[in-house]
């Protein structure tokens, strides 16, 4: 076929980039916008809403352990390494090694999710859930707080919680005095003056009160107390880490499929591109966590 015309040298149109890679990057662009909106929401609310008297909860207020978050960060970084090594092994035609690295990545991803579940459990145990955190102990909320604390104290006093004898004694004392105390005073007695924020201080209370939770560091003493912006914190925390975890799960499903293919003997060097694109997605998930960890746990 004659191509006599000189300006027809371009017979190959398009970018020197496979369709799949271009599509995966486009997908990641949409994901970047998704997480930007989500993280942006968190940043804007956190920077805009809290005040001096009503500050944003710190990790200690909401039972968040920074070390666990750091461990999870490390787990994901390792998994990023192993997934890129899986690609590298396949590049050097070592299918067995690639399969092994993929397996390790899957395992590390599962570890991440298990640790996350453990963290979620601690929030659930302490009722730090959206809509369930006590804030502003006035009016009907105050009354609900009173009833909830009454139930919790009874639970401890009757020996159903694994509390020390001294803790039970303190709880019994509080339970006896409960009808005479206002919700804010109850809150003060539970959390202690060091922990209760200015907006929740009962009027006329200038005393230094050591709260039950302060005195007895029992993890099983599940006593509610007021956490200003606690509902907002829980909303942001669960929305951000929840969607991140869903994305992790999605990645794990793909890894699972690849491992099943390998087990059936159908995984090979021809899947180099698939492994690369899955790796790209996994690195993105890692990067989101690299930002979520400091934003939620550290700053």
């Amino acid at each position: 076929m004659e191509h006599a015309v000189s300006d027809e040298k371009q017979a190959h149109m398009g970018l020197p980039l496979p369709n799949g890679k271009l599509a995966m990057w486009l997908f990641l662009v949409t994901e970047i916008m998704f997480f930007t909106a989500l993280i942006g929401t968190y940043l804007l609310i956190r920077m805009g809403m809290p005040t001096q008297s009503q500050p944003w909860p710190g990790p200690k207020d909401v039972h968040l352990v920074e070390a666990i978050g750091a461990f999870n960060t490390f787990v994901l970084i390792c998994s990023s390494l192993t997934v890129v090594l899986a690609h590298w092994s396949l590049h050097t035609n070592d299918v067995r090694k690639a399969t092994m690295y993929m397996g390790i990545t899957l395992a590390l991803g599962c570890v991440f999710l298990v640790v996350k579940a453990f963290e979620y459990k601690s929030k659930i145990d302490h009722q730090i859930l959206p809509g369930r955190v006590f804030e502003k102990l006035d009016g009907p909320t105050g009354y609900r707080f009173y009833r909830t604390v009454e139930e919790q104290l009874k639970h401890i006093v009757e020996g159903h919680a694994h509390a020390s004898e001294k803790a039970r004694e303190a709880c019994r004392k509080l339970l006896d005095e409960l009808p005479r105390l206002s919700p804010k005073e109850i809150n003060l007695r539970i959390a202690g003056s060091k922990k209760v924020k200015e907006c929740d201080m009962p009027s006329g209370a200038s005393k230094e009160v050591t709260g039950i939770l302060e005195e007895f560091h029992d993890e099983d003493l599940h006593l509610s107390h007021s956490i200003p912006f606690g509902n907002m914190w829980a909303s942001c925390y669960f929305a951000m880490t929840g969607f991140h975890a869903l994305h992790v799960l999605g990645g794990l499903v793909v890894f699972g499929v690849i491992l099943i293919m390998a087990w059936m003997g159908k995984f090979g060097v021809q899947h180099l591109n698939l492994v690369e694109y899955t790796g790209l997605y996994w690195h993105f998930v890692d990067i989101v966590w690299i930002f979520l960890f400091p934003l939620l746990y550290l700053v």
Binding site: G14, P18, L44, I45, I77, S80, W88, G279
Partner: protein
């Protein structure tokens, strides 16, 4: 997936050692930010920790995601989205952050 043209993929790729070095750098950065958190307080700590986070993300993007080699082919995707994302947050600062305090 129909790929009618034999598109050349990244001809260069990092080697095993580079990956390990980057991994070690990431691990050190994580430990560093955790240490800063324990030692410093307030805006200084926040600033350092976030800068470290950006460095970690940049390392993952540049090396693990092969962007170092693919940059001329995909910069047109990454640059606008970063501008858009950052801009969106900055534009909302007056409205949501500053206005509320008034």
């Amino acid at each position: 997936m129909s790929e009618p043209h034999a598109n050349g993929d990244a001809h260069a790729a990092p080697d095993f050692q580079t990956y390990i070095y980057v991994f070690l750098a990431l691990a050190i950065c994580t430990i560093l930010s955790f240490a800063v958190y324990g030692v410093l307080e307030g805006m200084a700590a926040a600033g350092i920790i976030m800068i470290v986070a950006v460095i970690k993300a940049a390392l993952v993007i540049w090396i693990f995601m092969h962007v170092k080699f693919d940059w001329p082919r995909i910069y047109f995707l990454i640059v606008p989205v970063l501008i858009l994302g950052v801009m969106m947050m900055f534009v909302l600062l007056p409205d949501i952050v500053i206005a509320w305090h008034q």
